[in-house]
Symmetry: D5
Subunit: 122 residues, 10 copies
């Protein structure tokens, strides 16, 4: 798989700003973890586009729920890339290994990880 | 839109049984309300197929979460069709009107409605 | 004040059925206590009409909130009239006197009273 | 619709001070969001006047409840006007879009927004 | 101390019915335990009269609080007199001895006792 | 009504110190709000004397309960007198108007007010 | 150790009735488990006598607390003796073995056991 | 792997009865799910023997905690074998598929399943 | 009663250090209040010796329970003696009078008092 | 028993780093207390190796549960050795004696102790 991430994130910023969608996208080098925040209709439409995107496969929906307040309000789509020492430590603080299985990963711990990663971006 | 529901529900039973998916599908005559229960991977793959199905449009994801126990374990996809007196009363018990807006509908009330509808099926 | 209650309640049934509004109306002989259940827009419009109705005055709004399920789903507007022995006992079970002051009455106790009264109707 | 806001807010201050009513009024340019705090009788009378005011229409009551302590005790009616960058960010922190639908808006999130807006005023 | 209880309870019924006061009065032969339920003004006025009544002394106020619903709605003043076997057992179920010290008695246990005693009356 | 408050408060200090009673007394110019803290017997005896005091009338008992710790341990009877701007603001923060009705006033809000007033004394 | 249990339990009944003490005494054949219920002074005095009784040794106090209602109100000292099949099963339902270590036994589980044993007596 | 289950369960009954261990053992035909209940020392020793038993491999410890009361007090080791229709339905009521992954299976759901299976045994 | 407190406290330190017992001892001049913390066996043995000590009488056990963490870990037996102004204020903050009745004193308030007293020691 | 701890801890670091296992190991001079954190499969495999290690005996499993976040994320196996004054004080703050019985020790208190010990290491 070859992927132009810079191109991808530009599309995200353009579309998400228009749809008032915020979130974070982690690319480990192997797989993506992503949070989409926004209205149900906008998130659904965006999610369906992403699920159909041939640039990845095996998309798995982990959780979807109403929130009182956004977790990533300042990011139209914050990008966190790679798996350096610090990143691995964040994953290991909440998980058994640095690689998470989307079919079984605990949602709360995953959000803890992604919030810690977003703190590294700012 | 013309739709062969009998055909559709046969496909549901065939695929869902294979994927250990259960749930309920309400067709009001105008729109669908559906619950899919099962593993994250199976539900995701099924949901992506449904979202791409040209037989409907404007698919909106309302909620997705882990559960301790299934709500509809006996239905590989229970079908509830139409909007008779009794059905309208069930909707009105939990909502302002008999038509729910998927972008704003309260998830708990919606599940209350669908469980009441499933009680009518058995 | 002279009031044709039969006329009034007919109007309630006609309008409320159209607006999917339910509730209960108690007329003590001196004042009204009323619960309106339904969508925010429908309840607001109905309430504004009632507040402007010259047949009563000093209308006081006691409480307004979202509910998981209606309390009076079977009544397009149940009418409870008068203050017989049984009615007085219901009021006294929850209040200091049989007459409640709308400016200070406790909302939960008031709903307890009105549900006990509605039980008398059916 | 043409509206002299300065005139309106003067009336608010005059009447509300007399009735010990406090609150906040947001005018987006298109619609109003308002909180009235005070005694039930005073809030009701004021609300009925506002609901009948021909300067706006489609008034929708969102919520009304007893509180232990006022949220806006220092404002006889704080006015927040317009929808600049900062304001839009406050709305988007709690909602899907910068425009809220009064029929479905979540009450707690709305109060979060209005408190954040009031912080901008002082 | 000589006391005509029949006379006393007649006064209670007369006054309390007028004031919508309910409650229970236990006379052990040595001391009284009493619950007064009703509006704050009515309970206060009645309590002040009782506190000044020369037929007893050392009146001690144990607790006074708002309630959602009366405990003794059917008794304008239920009288429980004496300390037979059954009564002593009720006291001992909740207390160290059959005689309670008003300065230290636990309020919840006392109400448990008085409700058990009232069950004997009906 | 003419009242020598200085005289009154001297009596309070003398008696309350002897009885280990603490509390606060607010005199608005028109009525009193008072908290008495101490043993049940001492508070009862003091309260009965106050209730019988011809210098005021219409005494209403609002609440009486056991506490884990006193709210006003340093005041044998702190006196707060008058209704200046600051005082009115404290009342309005918790109540509909600056005058509270003893028959309906919420106990928790009243204690909030009196603690805010006591903060002004020290 | 030789012990006349019949004699012992007679003393219990005589003294405990006088002191309004209730409870249960289990004798496994090897050791005692006992609950004493009553006033603090009476329980203390009784406990000190028992602790000094040369007929047993290594008395260990496990727990002592105020209760809202007695657990064994009908027993001036219910005696449960022996370790038959049924008794062992009751112990094993809540504990690792049929013998409990007084230094570490969980208080709640112990009370569960003793209440199950008392049910066998009646 | 060839396994004489009858032999195995006899050993379980013999040893567990001696160690006051209870529990349930499910053999799907492919893998085991087992609950051991008892004292920490006894459960540990038994567990270490089982973990070293060459008749199976990849033993994974899922959870271990103190309990107020045993879940399977009547079984020195109840054996549930096979995966018939009814069994599969019990698994699917709580899980995505009839096969559970010991590394990620939810503990509470697993105990729900095993209790439902034990109900089939009695 | 004549009592050599210095002698007594030396014995406490010697024995308690050996038994890993900690706590606090308040001597008002008239009576003792004491907390013993440690293992059940050690606390029991110590308590039985104290209860039998002829230097005092009327020993009353107020409460005994397992704790997550000691309240007085640094005191093998902290001695607080006398009833000066500051001490009386501490008692009055939590109690009706400076003298507490061991038969009725509230356990939580008593521990609050003793912790405040121990703060004076360090 | 003779034990080369330095050798042991080197093995721990090597293996645990590979398995993403973290934790703490306390050696009192007489016995070990250890926490292993990581995936269920990795912790199980490591635990089985440890339980079989001839360098110690009487291994007792105290507790095993899923966690939201690791307690010792920075230690591939922190070693705390010995029982100096400070260490004994930490044990006594939470336990009856400095030696804990693995069959009965309270899990929460044990984790409190081990976290206090780990604070000494850093
Ligand atoms: C991992 C991943 C994440 C994506 N995230 C977003 C996103 O947040 N918003 C978005 O509009 N498109 C996102 N896309 C791209 C969509 O799949 C799709 O290409 C894009 O929305 C099409 O936009 P366009 O029609 O404006 O080119 C993502 C794609 C991938 C592979
Ligand atoms: C409202 C709606 C609900 C559907 N529900 C399901 C379903 O629960 N399971 C399923 O496999 N297909 C469902 N389908 C059909 C899928 O969109 C798709 O046609 C089908 O999965 C293709 O299966 P096939 O490849 O076996 O024909 C649904 C379609 C619609 C329009
Ligand atoms: C105490 C009281 C309760 C009322 N309740 C209702 C009601 O529940 N629904 C309603 O439509 N009108 C109600 N009304 C009547 C309205 O004030 C108004 O007259 C009516 O809605 C006008 O309807 P119309 O335009 O169809 O005649 C009530 C009036 C009073 C005085
Ligand atoms: C959006 C909106 C908010 C208003 N808020 C208040 C208010 O808080 N208090 C008030 O007295 N009038 C308010 N008014 C004005 C009332 O509708 C009404 O004109 C006014 O109370 C009449 O007062 P007057 O009789 O003293 O002129 C508001 C009007 C609008 C359109
Ligand atoms: C123990 C006791 C309980 C009493 N309870 C009541 C009561 O519940 N209601 C009441 O009106 N008077 C009660 N009384 C009587 C009052 O003290 C007082 O005598 C009476 O209210 C005067 O009423 P009268 O002015 O109608 O005679 C009680 C007196 C005693 C000694
Ligand atoms: C509003 C008010 C509050 C009072 N508060 C107290 C008080 O806290 N303590 C007190 O002893 N007397 C208080 N009194 C005075 C008593 O009513 C009574 O006059 C006094 O206790 C008699 O005391 P003496 O017999 O020592 O003069 C208060 C009186 C009034 C009107
Ligand atoms: C295991 C055990 C339990 C006892 N329980 C009680 C008891 O509940 N009440 C009691 O008065 N004595 C009890 N006793 C007896 C006391 O130790 C003591 O002998 C007795 O109270 C003396 O009473 P007497 O002076 O009336 O003979 C118990 C003794 C033992 C060994
Ligand atoms: C899946 C499985 C479960 C077992 N469960 C138990 C058990 O509950 N109790 C037990 O003593 N042995 C159990 N065993 C057997 C032990 O591994 C071991 O063979 C046995 O305890 C040796 O006992 P013995 O020395 O008395 O032969 C189990 C073995 C397997 C494979
Ligand atoms: C109020 C009071 C508190 C006591 N506290 C303790 C104590 O905490 N530890 C203790 O060993 N002895 C305490 N004692 C002393 C015991 O009653 C007893 O005299 C002492 O334990 C005997 O110890 P010895 O045999 O070493 O002399 C206390 C005595 C009294 C009167
Ligand atoms: C008290 C104790 C704690 C141990 N802790 C660990 C540990 O955390 N990780 C580990 O791999 N081995 C641990 N061991 C060592 C194992 O028992 C075993 O010797 C080791 O895992 C074998 O590793 P090797 O095959 O790489 O030599 C511990 C041993 C003892 C006695």
């Amino acid at each position: 798989m070859s992927m132009d991430l810079r191109e991808l994130i530009k599309t995200c910023h353009r579309n998400n700003a228009m749809n008032s969608i915020t979130g974070i996208l982690h690319y480990s080098g192997t797989y993506f973890l992503q949070v989409l925040e926004g209205g149900r209709a906008e998130v659904s439409a965006t999610y369906h586009r992403i699920a159909n995107d041939p640039r990845h496969s095996n998309v798995i929906l982990i959780s979807c729920s109403d929130v009182r307040e956004r977790l990533f309000p300042v990011w139209t789509m914050g990008l966190h890339e790679g798996m350096d020492e610090e990143t691995r430590n964040i994953f290991l603080r909440y998980f058994a290994t640095k690689d998470v299985n989307p079919e079984t990963v605990n949602v709360d711990s995953l959000l803890d990880v992604l919030q810690d990663l977003s703190a590294e971006l700012s």
